[in-house]
Amino acid sequence: MTNRILVHKSFIHINGNDYPIMVYSCPNGRHSAETALGTNDIIINDAASLEEVLAKHKRLLPLAVYAHGIRQRSKGRRR
């Protein structure tokens, strides 16, 4: 995704960790919220406005962190 502009940056605290939230505005007016949960482990949510995407992203992040944690642990068990 080129020509995106960073319009928001903040952190969210979940289970003792701080996760960054970066929101980008795209040329078509849509917004994408990104958070890196680990190395090369990024999640992205999209919505029409900054407020909408932030609300959606913050609502989903705890569940995403939980699900990614389980995935990491199960991958570790299989190794």
């Binding site: 990104e34 999209d46 989903l60 995403a64 699900a67 995935r71 199960s74």
Partner: protein
């Protein structure tokens, strides 16, 4: 807890009375009926969990009494006692629905073993009933595995959001079922859940199937037609085997996912599509993104809530429960006496690797139910492949030692690739799918193997 109630029907007081006393001192509640008439009288007075009956009675046919008991008390199980000369009658009783039989004379230890099987079976049945009473479709996810229970809980939580879900797991683990559960429990549950298997659509048709076609897009397109995305408006789009989504279309799909608008093939009109995506794969999308075989930005949007369903071999505790569940489902569709899995057969199944997972177990149970109704299933009834649990292990045993690990692993991989290719009659796409490789990578590997 209520004690297990047993109705003993035996006309020989020398056997009946000591039997009653032994059962009572072992904690069971027992009542002795010394004739068929006594047994029928007992039925009018109380309910029982088990009928322990001698088939030779002075005043009635033991089989008739058993039929009457099982008819009146559907949850009751029957253990029949028989002399050496009446084995045929015991077989008949089994076909009529008896749980098991004992040949006289028998030891109390043998009886207690059978009772243990009955109580265990009852516990499994009650567990299935309670899961089934739970909440509709979740009842279909029969499990006592803590990992699976966590997964169902996560699915219930994620269903309430509109998040994209990525279901991961081997074939046959139940990804489709979990997608259905997520859809049913979501606010979109009353709207359609459109299921698409990406591997089943030819690449040339993918765009029109997914996005639809405008009238006049090509010769023969005499009217506008909606695709899967439009069909899943207000509902859920379930893309199975998403790794097979053609790379050339991933950009267009990414736009649809992010912006919730589409253009049909050959059109310039924008359509709104309000869909929730649930995707599934048995491949490592992260690795595919690393090798540019899957768009990374699409992967990051799909992978918001990943849920990994464990293979059946990692939740073996569910195997007896699933057997009972599939037997019950089969009987509902095709009423016939159900086969009884002996402890040895259960052990064989519990030790098996189940490469085809729950789907394979279901097929085995249905196969056995058709071929051996009312019979006691021994390991010999199960197919030969089950008794050689792990073909990979067998292959492993054939390797000579003395090589460096890297070389041994490469040898094993080559042999395994050839074995898989052979097993599917040389079909490269199917082999690639089983091996979790792209066709291109498989082709390169085969070229190297043949050149070596």
């Amino acid at each position: 807890m209520t004690r297990f109630k047993i109705l003993i029907v035996d006309d020989e007081p020398l056997l009946g009375m000591p039997l009653k006393r032994s059962l009572e001192s072992a904690g069971y509640q027992a009542r002795l009926a010394q004739s068929g008439a006594d047994a029928l009288q007992a039925l009018t007075e109380e309910s029982f969990d088990l009928l322990l009956e001698d088939l030779c009675l002075p005043d009635a046919d033991g089989l008739d009494i058993m039929g009457e008991v099982l008819n009146k008390i559907p949850h009751c199980r029957a253990l029949v006692m028989t002399g050496n000369g009446t084995i045929e009658k015991a077989v008949k009783a089994m076909k009529m629905g008896a749980f098991d039989f004992l040949t006289k004379p028998f030891t109390m230890e043998a009886l207690f073993q059978k009772l243990h099987s009955v109580t265990e079976f009852r516990a499994v049945e009650e567990e299935i009933d309670s899961l089934g009473r739970g909440d509709g479709m979740c009842g279909a996810c029969i499990t006592r595995s803590p990992v699976m229970k966590d997964i169902l809980q996560t699915a219930a939580v994620v269903a309430a959001t509109d998040a994209t879900v990525l279901l991961l797991g081997e074939s046959g683990t139940g990804k489709d079922l979990l997608a259905e559960i997520i859809h049913a429990k979501s606010r979109r549950g009353k709207n359609p859940c459109i299921k698409v298997n990406c591997a089943a659509i030819p690449e040339t048709l993918f765009e029109s199937e997914l996005f639809g076609v405008e009238r006049g897009a090509y010769t023969g397109a005499d009217r506008s037609r909606g695709g899967y995305l439009e069909a899943s408006d207000k509902g859920t789009l379930y893309l199975d085997e998403i790794a097979e989504l053609p790379l050339s279309l991933q950009g267009k799909f990414l736009r649809a996912l992010g912006e919730k608008t589409i253009y049909k093939v050959g059109g310039s009109r924008e359509y709104d599509v309000d869909f929730r995506l649930v995707a599934a794969t048995n491949k490592d999308l992260k690795s595919l993104a690393g090798t540019h075989e899957f768009r990374e930005d699409l992967f990051f949007r799909i992978n918001v809530v990943p849920i990994t369903i464990p293979p059946l071999r990692e939740r073996r505790e569910d195997i007896p429960l699933l057997i009972a569940y599939f037997q019950r489902r089969f009987q509902e569709k095709h009423p016939c006496p159900k086969p009884h899995f002996s402890p040895e057969a259960l052990e064989t199944l519990c030790n098996y690797g189940f490469p085809g997972n729950v789907r394979e177990l279901q097929n085995i149970v249905e196969h056995i139910s058709i071929l051996h109704p009312g019979e006691i299933i021994k390991p010999r009834h199960l197919s030969v492949s089950l008794q050689n649990p792990d073909p990979v292990a067998t292959l492993f045993e054939s390797f000579a030692v003395g090589k460096p690990l890297k070389e041994a692993v490469a040898d094993f991989e080559n042999k395994y690739i050839e074995k898989v290719l052979h097993s599917v009659g040389g079909h490269k796409s199917r082999s690639a799918s089983i091996l979790g490789l792209s066709r291109k990578v498989l082709w390169e590997r085969l070229k190297r193997i043949r050149e070596a």
